[in-house]
Amino acid sequence: MALDTANTISVRTMNMIQALNSALDVSLAHDPDTLIFGEDVGYFGGVFRVTDKLQEKYGLTRCFDTPISEGGIIATAIGMGAYGLRPVVEIQFADYILPAYDQLVSEAARLRYRSNGQFWAPITVRSPYGGGIFGGQTHSQSPEAIFAHITGLKTVIPSNPYDAKGLLIAAIECDDPVIFLEPKRLYNGPFEGRPDAQVKTWAGHPMAEVPEGRYTVPLGKAATVREGNDVTVLAYGTMVHVALSAIEETGIDAELIDLRSIVPLDIDAIVASVKKTGRCLIVHEASKYAGFGGELSALVQERCFYHLKSAVRRVGGWDTPYPHAFEWDYFPGPSRIVPALRACLED
């Protein structure tokens, strides 16, 4: 990581909302060409409070509300980006990004390529994603695979406050379009996929100790959350915490890798770990079929085939729309991960 040591003396416990707010604050202060817009992000500070007080601090034209038009938000961000600004836009829920999909796929992802480098759009699209808040089918989905499939978009998913801030600053400073998916169930605390357990806050978690100033966590570098020898578990976002809890429940000596970004993907870290353990379990919250786990599974098979001692396995959400009343039946919690972990070792 690149620490700007002059500014990082002060460290404070932050939840993920505060860490993201700090990243935006630092970025607005650092670069006058950075600006924020999206639905309800201005005066109100965002429905999840991620842009709280930024309009007050930086003025009306640097953090402002928009019409309810996801396509319009992304299209104007691309235009601003092409002019030379660095827009950071919010799509209020990732479930609502689809009207902007054409702008992301046909425009943001390809502008640099088709103009042969004459134009590009260094935009960052922040969006809360994932379930666990009884949000029903339009406030719960995990759409990362539909972005990962599009060459030209980077897709970043933090799992803790420290990474969230460092990755968001890196995304903003990146000259390519970045989809930045925020696991909303982790905003206020780590979540282990056990809805009946007492709710945890970030207080006391080592990754909630966040420098006040500017630092970056590079895109495309995975983090080894837990070292182990018997099976590699690949996860990102909310599922990092859920997988860790499942691993601890089994007592299996698993190596847990938090991918942190799925494009660019830290393929070297994945391959090194699977070659060491010989086994691989992939966990994501999105529906399993054609999910990003399918790509990970294929990559592991292609690159580690002769090291594998068992079939690569995937645990994901069921292949249904996100069902409101059945949230915890749908969610791939420890009760589904634990048997999958054991099955990896039994082959």
Partner: protein, 409 residues
């Protein structure tokens, strides 16, 4: 740079934020009865004044005046009042139920009850509405079973949607109430397509679609209006302008520059702008548009000018982004109070009967909520989990069969 003032980025700001004095003086309100009523077969180009005025029937004394007075039978007015009151009282009860943890989410229609109630009664059983989440009054006016509504909101074992959708985002085909989604504007085009299908089949059914002021910014709204115009779809496309989209006032949907009804002009569609808190005006404008649609004169756009008197949902606190007393200053009043005043003015109602009606509806709601609680509230009861895998396709594919087996259900 040229020797002229530098460009400035304009970002709209509402007239008042928390702590500011409230004023609605900038809103131009013509007198009740002042707006002309064209023939339903009139040419669109001859009524381009209508999107810029405000159709009103009820005056300040509660009298029905002017050419848009639908001259309704008092029994119909009472039916409307009942539906509006039921909606208001039910909303209050369900909002409390959310605070008590009995449901995950709720959205009130407060201040907008005249719209759903009047339009539900104007349109026929074969017509279809494509509602927003602030249209419960439509169902109340058609005597939708209250217990079904409670069970859906509690996501319990008797939820008629089997736990698949958020509370209040319901679906009631037999009541002319199309499935609601949280996505905004995505069903406006469905209303047009449904209307086109009725025309294709040579039927007499029409469709009525809804978006809010904020949602007019979505591309789907403009696509729908284009198709409505091109195919002269027998539809009514309503824009419920309640001034607020969560924390964003209507200026963020373009209201600084023009009216929402005036959007119709660019598509060659008639645009009516109506006092949405006036049950009679909503009725009359909807009847006009329905008659026009049923006689092959195509789609009318109606802006229902109203005010969202409560927060967006149980998830926001409106005092954080607008003055706490703004709702009480709304110059077009409360739709329930205005219809009540009218009924009293024509000698069909009085305070005692009104109080008795409130008591009766409160008791009806209490009984329904109790029955719903007996089935169970959120998390205490839920539909059979096998429903999770049903209705994805008409028949399940192997994934759903395998995953059901994996769950042991």
């Amino acid at each position: 740079m040229l020797n002229i003032p530098r460009l400035q980025l304009h970002v709209p700001e509402p007239p008042a934020r928390p702590g500011d004095p409230v004023s609605f003086d900038h809103i131009d309100i013509p007198a009740a009865g002042a707006v002309r009523r064209p023939d339903t077969a009139a040419r669109e180009e001859d009524m381009r004044d209508l999107p810029y005025t405000l159709i009103r029937v009820l005056d300040d004394e509660g009298r029905a005046v002017g050419p848009w007075d639908p001259k309704l039978d008092p029994a119909v007015l009472l039916k409307g009042l009942r539906a509006m009151l039921m909606t208001r009282l039910f909303d209050d009860r369900m909002f409390r139920a959310h605070r008590q943890g009995k449901t995950s989410f709720y959205m009130k229609s407060t201040g907008e009850e005249a719209i759903g109630a009047a339009q539900s009664l104007v349109l026929g059983a074969g017509d279809m509405s494509f509602p927003t989440y602030r249209m419960s009054a439509w169902l109340m006016a058609r005597d939708y079973p209250l217990l079904d509504m409670v069970n859906q909101i509690f996501s319990n074992a008797d939820d008629p949607l089997h736990g698949k959708q958020l509370p209040i985002l319901t679906s009631a085909r037999d009541y002319g109430f199309y499935s609601i989604s949280g996505n905004l504007g995505s069903r406006f085009g469905h209303a047009v397509g449904w209307a086109m299908a009725s025309a294709y089949k040579g039927d007499d059914k029409i469709a009525i679609g809804y978006v809010g002021d904020g949602t007019t910014a979505e591309g789907g709204v403009h696509e729908a209006m284009t198709f409505a115009s091109v195919y002269r779809a027998p539809a009514i496309l309503c824009i419920t302008n309640n001034q607020w989209a969560i924390s964003s006032y209507s200026g963020f949907a373009g209201a600084e520059a023009t009216t929402f009804a005036a959007r119709a002009i660019a598509y060659g569609l008639p645009g009516l702008r109506v006092d949405g808190n006036d049950f009679l005006a909503v009725w009359a404008a909807t009847q006009w548009a329905a008659d026009r649609a049923r006689t092959n004169h195509g789609t009318t756009v109606i802006e229902l000018f109203t005010y969202r008197a409560e927060g967006h949902s149980t998830s926001d606190d409106p005092t954080k982004y607008r003055p706490a007393d703004e709702a009480s200053h709304w110059p077009l009043g409360d739709p329930i109070a205005r219809l009540k005043q009218h009924l009293i003015a024509i000698g069909e109602w009085d305070e005692a009967r009104h109080e008795a009606l409130v008591a009766e509806l409160t008791e009806t709601i209490r009984v329904a909520v109790k029955a719903g609680e007996a089935v169970g509230t959120l998390g205490k009861s839920k539909p059979d989990v096998r429903h999770m895998f049903e209705g994805i396709f008409k028949e399940p594919d192997w994934r759903h069969i395998e995953q059901r087996n994996e769950m042991g259900i």
